[in-house]
């Protein structure tokens, strides 16, 4: 479970100070599915970085399962990321020289899993996203949808508690977007994950049980009764 208490993030650019996050208080229970929306520059990606331990707040607490990520050493924070948090990015962020299977394996490398087991787990993860026949393909040899499936397999292969997705369908056409969302929804249910997704897509936002909107660093959360 996440608990964000009075989280602020300020960036200084020259003489100007930008409040990317301005006193955010937010609780995200385990297994929740939260969609974060808002205008560009509203602080969505910054909030996702705080949740993922990729950056530290200027002040406030980002507590994950009782541990304040803001106060952890870099080494421990790296460990939390490697064990508990999966990321899916808008541009897939696959290593272009590694095959689909090897890309998925990169998430298991920090866990010290032996090569053979790593390969088996990666292959299994790829099969679970429908890419069992594409293990040896390089990212350049796959479509955008397939690449995002590899990225999802990479995020979930280590069985994290949290899945953070930053505009996961932003670079995909409508048909592929629905396919990817179906995959994500299925895996969320299967794995019992806490799934937090940033998106501009109103169609996707309407399907979320909880919708958080970020404007000028302030957050408002709505429950979606329709879901």
């Amino acid at each position: 479970m996440y608990e964000l208490n009075n989280v602020t993030k300020r960036y200084t650019r020259g003489k100007d100070t930008v409040h990317a996050l301005d006193g955010i208080d937010l609780t995200i229970p385990d297994g929740d599915r939260l969609v974060i929306q808002g205008p560009t520059g509203g602080g969505k990606s910054t909030l996702l970085q705080m949740l993922g331990g990729l950056d530290r707040p200027t002040s406030g607490e980002v507590v994950l399962d009782g541990t304040d990520l803001a106060r952890l050493s870099e080494a421990r924070l790296t460990r939390v990321r490697s064990e508990s948090i999966g990321f899916v990015f808008q541009s897939f962020n696959l290593i272009p020289t590694l095959t689909a299977q090897e890309n998925v394996e990169t998430a298991l490398v920090p866990l010290g899993i032996k090569v053979r087991e790593r390969r088996e787990l990666a292959a299994e993860a790829l099969r679970s996203v429908g890419l069992g026949e594409r293990l040896g393909h390089l990212p350049g040899e796959m479509s955008g949808g397939q690449q995002q499936r590899v990225a999802i397999a990479r995020a979930l292969v280590k069985k994290p508690k949290v899945l953070l997705a930053d505009e996961p369908t932003g670079n995909l056409d409508e048909g592929t977007r629905d396919e990817i969302m179906d995959v994500l929804e299925r895996l969320w249910k299967e794995h019992g994950l806490t799934f937090i997704m940033v998106t501009h897509d109103s169609t996707l936002a309407k399907k979320a049980p909880r919708l958080a909107t970020l404007r000028k660093g302030k957050i408002t959360v709505q429950e979606n009764a329709a879901t």
């Binding site: 990729l54 950056d55 790296t78 990015f89 290593i95 020289t97 090897e102 490398v109 920090p110 866990l111």
Partner: protein, 477 residues
């Protein structure tokens, strides 16, 4: 994963990798060529120096010749004109101690007892000037027309003139070196090989035996078993020695005691050849001898090397100065280019490394990946450089350009041993330049390759380690 990732990345960026490796290869090849040519110069110089005082000698101890005292040291020859019709040959040799003032034999022991001296042996250098020929008296012929002398001014005697008479003589000038036959491992004879007959036995300390230099033997048609007469003493040629450099230290070598007798220099030597116990402590041994054996001049091979001039010296300076600086400049440039290219490559992979950090890769693992790639570039560059350098050194050795070395010259009279035992004038030797590549050179090249890789890796690794995952991911937007 490390090697798979490394291999694929290098393959993907093979052009950049080739540029980095080529730069390093060029620098390393230059270092190998310059180093091997310098080695060759050193060997050529050693060869020149060895021809002067033999293998194993680290320094010599001499005493400078005093200023000439006019006629006292100049050889004089007196021949009696023979009676009419007598055409018998007369000869006379003068044996002079050559070059330096003599040192007493006890000095050899004193030098030998100095700290750091492994062995010391004395030698006596002699110069023999032999004049031989016919000297006939002129004949007086009385004028048939009248009496009286045309010469002499007398008026009452018979007239006539002196006809005929004169001299037909040959001058033979050669050098003789008195060597300590009990210590064959030290001294000028060690720079020659016995090519016929044998060398001295340790028991032949006062034997009338001689080893002739091959060039002199050829000129005089000596061979093993021939006899040579020096100042009336007949010596038997027991061996012919050929100097390694083609230029011998003396024309004839005889036992030291015999040389002392011939040169009227009992218990005297002109040069003491010294071998140091540790070749790295030659300077301290030199100081010890200078301090404890006064009135002598100690000359090390380094001192003598300073007197080498000619194209060998020029080429040696060129290799030492221009070659070294050029190699260093290319190496530094190659290291910098490698570092900057690696750093630039990391900048282009910010998102990639940021993603890996987001996945839980520690900075150290990312840095190792970058350094690993740079190291492979360095090693490939090193391998290419070694191949290029070996080829360059092979070409130099194959061409073997001839170099001239002038040794001695103006410093010869100063009491050192430029020019070898007793030589006081400059001598010119021709040596072929080679470029031997030593194991040390290869180790140096490998070391440079690793250093190049590490420097390049340090640039890139430092850049990669400073990346924050959030900074990297921000580029996505």
């Amino acid at each position: 994963m490390f090697f798979t990732y490394l291999r694929r990345e290098l393959r993907r960026r093979r052009k950049a990798a080739l540029v980095v490796a080529s730069g390093l290869a060029l620098g390393i090849a230059l270092v190998i060529v310059v180093d091997s040519v310098s080695n060759g110069m050193g060997k050529a110089q050693d060869k020149v120096l060895q021809s002067l005082y033999g293998l194993g000698t680290d320094m010599t101890v001499t005493k400078a010749a005093s200023a000439s005292t006019g006629d006292a040291q100049r050889p004089r020859f007196r021949f009696d004109a023979q009676n009419n019709g007598d055409d018998s040959t007369q000869s006379s040799d003068r044996v002079m101690v050559q070059g330096f003032q003599t040192l007493s034999a006890s000095t050899v022991a004193k030098v030998g007892s100095q700290s750091g001296v492994s062995d010391a042996v004395g030698g006596l250098s002699l110069q023999v000037l032999k004049v031989s020929g016919q000297f006939t008296r002129g004949r007086f012929q009385q004028n048939e027309s009248g009496g009286g002398f045309q010469r002499g001014g007398g008026t009452g005697g018979p007239q006539g003139e002196v006809k005929g008479g004169g001299a037909d003589f040959d001058v033979n000038n050669y050098s003789v070196y008195g060597t300590d036959v009990t210590k064959p491992g030290l001294g000028p004879l060690t720079s020659s090989k016995i090519t016929s007959g044998r060398t001295f036995k340790a028991t032949e300390t006062d034997a009338k035996v001689v080893v002739a230099d091959s060039a002199y033997a050829k000129e005089k048609k000596y061979k093993a078993g021939s006899t040579v007469t020096i100042k009336g003493v007949t010596f038997t040629v027991i061996g012919i020695a050929t100097a390694d450099s083609g230029d011998s230290a003396a024309d004839l070598y005889i036992p030291l005691k015999q040389a002392q007798t011939l040169g009227d220099a009992k218990d005297k030597v002109t040069t003491i050849y010294v071998k140091a116990a540790d070749s790295k402590k030659i300077d301290s041994v030199k100081s010890a001898i200078q301090r404890h054996v006064s009135g002598t001049t100690v000359t090390t091979s380094a001192d003598l090397a300073d007197t080498v001039s000619g194209s060998l010296s020029t080429a040696s300076s060129l290799a030492a100065d221009v070659g070294t600086w050029l190699s260093l400049a290319v190496l530094v440039a190659a290291f910098l280019v490698a570092g900057l290219l690696t750093s630039s490559a990391v900048s282009r992979r910010v998102r990639e490394f940021g993603t890996l950090k987001a996945l839980g890769w520690r900075s150290g693992r990312v840095t190792r990946q970058v350094v690993g790639e740079a190291m492979v570039n360095g090693l490939v560059g090193g391998a290419l450089g070694i191949a290029l350098g070996l080829a360059g050194a092979y070409v130099v050795t194959a061409i073997s350009p001839g170099l001239q070395a002038q040794v001695g010259g103006g410093t010869g009279g100063g009491g050192g041993f430029p020019g070898g035992p007793g030589r006081r004038t400059a001598k010119t030797l021709e040596v072929a330049l080679t470029a031997p590549v030593s194991v040390t050179t290869i180790v140096l090249a490998v070391g440079l390759a690793v250093a190049g890789g590490l420097i390049a890796g340090a640039f890139g690794g430092w850049r990669a380690s400073r990346l924050r995952p959030a900074d990297a991911l921000r580029r996505v937007e």
